[in-house]
């Protein structure tokens, strides 16, 4: 079994290894705690993972953003002056929800067309999207069991 992981804080922690060990699976993990949804979408398509049995993708807070500083992609809040004004005056939940929807639709479809089962998770407790397989919040104690149960119930053949 081969598993592709990408995401932010949750997946970059112990979850990916615990899950892969449980199923004795090979894996590739691109997750990084700094990643926003755009970065998770971008790095997944840059990697173009194919021939995986399962993809586990964690999306994070819809408001997080990144930009290219001329050398590399960096967290939007690194430009404190611009980002502070943006979040205080221009950013809206509608904008975040729209970008979140783009990323979810894109990766769900990407894995479907590549015949890879996917578990798409949100760790944004404010998300209003109904397109996630799981929404995991800080209150959830046994995240590993939640993901495993989802896999066993809906995907394991």
């Amino acid at each position: 079994m081969k598993i592709f992981f990408n995401g932010s804080t949750l997946i970059s922690g112990e979850l990916h290894e615990s899950f892969a060990n449980e199923y004795n699976a090979e894996f590739l993990n691109l997750a990084d705690p700094k990643y926003c949804n755009h970065a998770i979408w971008r790095t997944t398509l840059e990697e173009s993972p194919v021939n995986y049995d399962l993809a586990i993708i964690e999306f994070t807070k819809a408001s997080k953003m990144e930009y290219y500083d001329g050398k590399e992609w960096v967290d939007f809040i690194e430009n404190e002056r611009i980002s502070k004004y943006w979040y205080e005056n221009i950013y809206t939940e509608e904008f975040g929800a729209c970008d979140e929807n783009f990323a979810v639709e894109a990766l769900r479809d990407y894995f479907t067309i590549n015949n890879t089962d996917s578990i798409i998770i949100s760790t944004d407790e404010n998300t209003k999207s109904t397109k996630f397989d799981l929404v995991i919040t800080q209150k959830d104690k046994n995240v590993f069991e939640m993901v495993k149960n989802y896999y066993e119930t809906f995907l394991r053949r």
Partner: protein, 230 residues
């Protein structure tokens, strides 16, 4: 048979209107209508002048795509963007700037334009940002004494960001339409686009008017080339 078109001013038909002609005349002459007539199909054209790739993708995803037999998506310049405004600040700023522009350049239309803008009721809405001219980039949000989006393009936007977003949105649309098993044609008007589109409309082939939009003859040629791709 039902066709769906989305894009910016090129797909909307900007540049087709002659003075004193009604909008219906544009609708008759634009390439979406020509294609619809040729195929004997009903046409839904949701293109709007000034849309960004973000907006074009958003509008496409808002549709019930099941009802369409063929879908035509026209991408645009990747530097354009949009944001969802709930304040009315951009609406008012653009109103003032537009009226100043009309007074200076088209004084005969100033009063009509003012009446129309004065009667508009503000509702929360997506606002387009086009960096090419100040009037189309203005948001009315002022940071340290300057228009916010001027500083956005100086400090945040980078061509690499435009290229990556264009690629991500293209892949989103291409994959979705392929999965839905919908016949589709994806075009762009960005001459330097590296996307593997079916047709780049802005490579010097189609006749353009002074505002860089296809003439009626240009629309006929585009329609013919798109039909050839089907």
């Amino acid at each position: 048979m039902k066709l769906f078109f989305v894009g910016d001013s090129w797909t909307w038909g900007d540049g087709l209107r002659k003075p004193h002609e009604k909008k219906d005349k544009i609708y008759e002459k634009r390439f979406s209508t020509i294609i619809g007539k040729k195929l004997g199909a009903e046409v839904v054209n949701e293109a709007i002048c000034g849309l960004s790739n973000h907006a074009i993708t958003r509008i496409l995803l808002e549709q019930d795509l099941d009802q369409y037999d063929c879908i035509f998506v026209q991408f645009t310049y990747p530097a354009r963007t949009e944001f969802f405004d709930v304040t009315g600040i951009p609406h008012n700023a653009r109103k003032i700037t537009t009226l100043k522009h009309m007074k200076k350049h088209i004084p005969s239309k100033y009063e009509n334009c003012k009446r129309k803008l004065d009667s508009e009721v503000f509702t929360s809405r997506w606002q387009n940002i086009l960096p090419h001219f100040f009037r189309w980039m203005e948001s009315g949000f002022i940071l340290d004494g300057r228009e916010f989006y001027e500083q956005w393009y100086e400090e945040i936007y980078h061509d690499e960001m435009g290229r990556v977003d264009e690629m991500l949105l293209y892949n989103l649309i291409k994959t979705k339409l392929t999965l839905l098993n919908k016949k589709h044609v994806i075009t762009t008007i960005f001459p330097r686009s590296s996307l593997p589109v079916d047709l780049n409309l802005n490579k010097g082939k189609y006749q353009l008017d002074a505002t860089n939009h296809p003439t009626h003859f240009g629309h006929i040629m585009i329609a013919r080339d798109i039909i050839d791709l089907l």
